[in-house]
């Protein structure tokens, strides 16, 4: 009897913790969501109330029709798409080679790549601004994409290398004896077994590139090329923009990231918990 009551208390305690955690993590976004469905009058009504007195979608249509947000969303999609393609094409062969080679230089090279992954992009962005100015890559789609790929490459290479390490060489040997080239055995044997790792690299590249701010902030001044993060930042800096518009624009920019996350959550949780991601 005594034990059962103790168990009950413990469960109640746990549920209370869960409730607090959920409130802390969902409340800020829900508040922005709530503001995004209000008229301006409703936004400033005092005392503030949690639920809009009447829901309106007008802010969303206004933001879509009067701001460059459509352009920003398209730009972000372009940057993310080409960054993903470039990052995967470059990192997969390199990660595979790192995983299979035995040269003594491998260790130090990998440490250097790990260090690159962790240093602030700001440090390298200062000289890159100078390069790109000379190469006419400022205010240029290609310039942004190249810089994004350079930022994502160390992480993707490390992650994929870690995954390839878990696939035994013996599996490939049969294919090699059958006359497969290295490349064929990577594509036909190793890569199909590495799909969870590949999915993880892909998700991380998408989420991080979608949220990237510093690089476009430094490389772009033409608002027609802004990704959603920079567009939103400039949008909220301009004093004349109403709070309800800012709230709805924020919600619009969150939706793609949250959707990708919810759909592919399993992969993210799995790879984070198995320790494949070390940065």
């Amino acid at each position: 009897m005594h034990n059962r009551r103790k168990e009950l208390y413990r469960n109640i305690l746990l549920y209370s913790i869960y409730a607090l955690v959920i409130i802390f993590f969902l409340f800020p976004v829900l508040w922005a969501l709530s503001l995004s469905f209000r008229s301006l009058k409703d936004v400033f009504r005092y005392p503030p109330h949690l639920i809009p007195s009447h829901f309106t979608f007008e802010n969303y249509t206004t933001v879509f029709n009067t701001s460059l947000i459509k352009t920003y969303l398209i730009n972000s999609s372009i940057y993310v798409l080409f960054t993903v393609i470039g990052t995967i094409i470059l990192s997969v062969p390199a990660a595979y080679a790192f995983s299979r080679m035995r040269n003594k230089a491998k260790g130090p090279l990998l440490i250097i790549i790990l260090a690159f992954q962790m240093i602030s992009p700001l440090i390298i962005a200062i000289p890159i601004y100078g390069y790109f100015q000379q190469l006419h890559l400022l205010n240029n789609y290609l310039g942004v994409i190249i810089a994004y790929i350079a930022i994502q490459l160390p992480f993707a290479t490390w992650l994929m290398k870690g995954y390839f390490d878990t696939i035994p060489i013996s599996i490939e040997e049969a294919a090699r004896i059958d006359g497969c080239t290295r490349f064929q055995s990577l594509i036909r044997v190793v890569l199909p077994l590495s799909l969870p790792g590949l999915a993880t690299a892909l998700i991380f590249t998408v989420i991080q590139s979608w949220g990237q701010f510093l690089i476009p902030f430094i490389l772009l001044s033409n608002s027609r090329l802004f990704p959603i993060t920079l567009g939103l930042y400039q949008y909220q800096v301009s004093e004349s923009i109403h709070t309800n518009f800012i709230a709805s624009a924020s919600i619009i920019s969150i939706i793609p990231a949250i959707l990708i996350f919810l759909i592919l959550q399993k992969f993210i949780v799995k790879s984070l918990t198995r320790g494949a991601v070390k940065g």
Binding site: Y18, F25, V29, M118, T273
Partner: protein, 297 residues
Amino acid sequence: MKNDISKKETWAWLWILPVIAILSLFYVVPIVKVGLYSFTNASFFGGKFHYTLNTYGFLFSSGTFWIMLKTTLLFVIASVIFQFLLGFSISLALVDGENRKLLGTTFVRTAVLSAWVIPGVVIGIVWKLLLTGASYGILNYYIKVLTGYAIPFLSSPTWALVSIIIANVWRGTAFSMIILYGGLKQVPQELYEAAQIDGASAWKRLIHVTIPQLKQVIFINLALITIYTFNTFDMIMALTGGGPGRATEVLSIYSYDSVFERWALSQGAASAIVLLVINLIIVIFYYRTMKVGENNA
């Protein structure tokens, strides 16, 4: 197999080459360049410059640099402590709940993780909507109802620092939670059972079983969140812009402003080198911890 080694692995080098080329162009050369700039008196607009140690001399003797560094350290230390404690507590509560087959653990995990996929700029904006002193600042409304006073979250220098710490904890807790959650799942269940038979309380089991078992994961987690917090830029830009005044100006914002707002390229480069050195020290610590773990395994 021996053949493979004697072939000198030319294929492997060829496959790695594109990555090495890009990383050299985008990391090695820029880092060297920043290093060189930091020893000059160069301006953002180019023109003639000469090599000098004065930039560092000026940086280290300027009051604003040390105030900024203190702000950065306060921001990092407080963020890391709370991200870790909160992340650890949530992961413990989740694993305990899963063992008891409680409902809703997946939902809690998803709620925490969703904060982590939102772009930093948006996090800054969302928290601004919550903390603002304007009439729609709902947090201040509740605080006023409870205490009678409003808190100047974004307009007082001290509170602005507290605000960026809270927003950063909100953003970063997910990462600590999921890494520690993964670690907790690996702790052999028998250890807990043995401790329980010995009559160890829940607290004692945490101190004597869980934490020693997680030591390496904890160190790795601490190193990573420390680096991420030092590199924070976007969220603070959106939430406070480094203000009011320079109250929330951390190292990355200081470097950015030096170069792109005050046009002092050499000074910005020198402060970027300070950030680089901090980053590298943590990387070394991180790498050593990882190595120790591999050798023990």
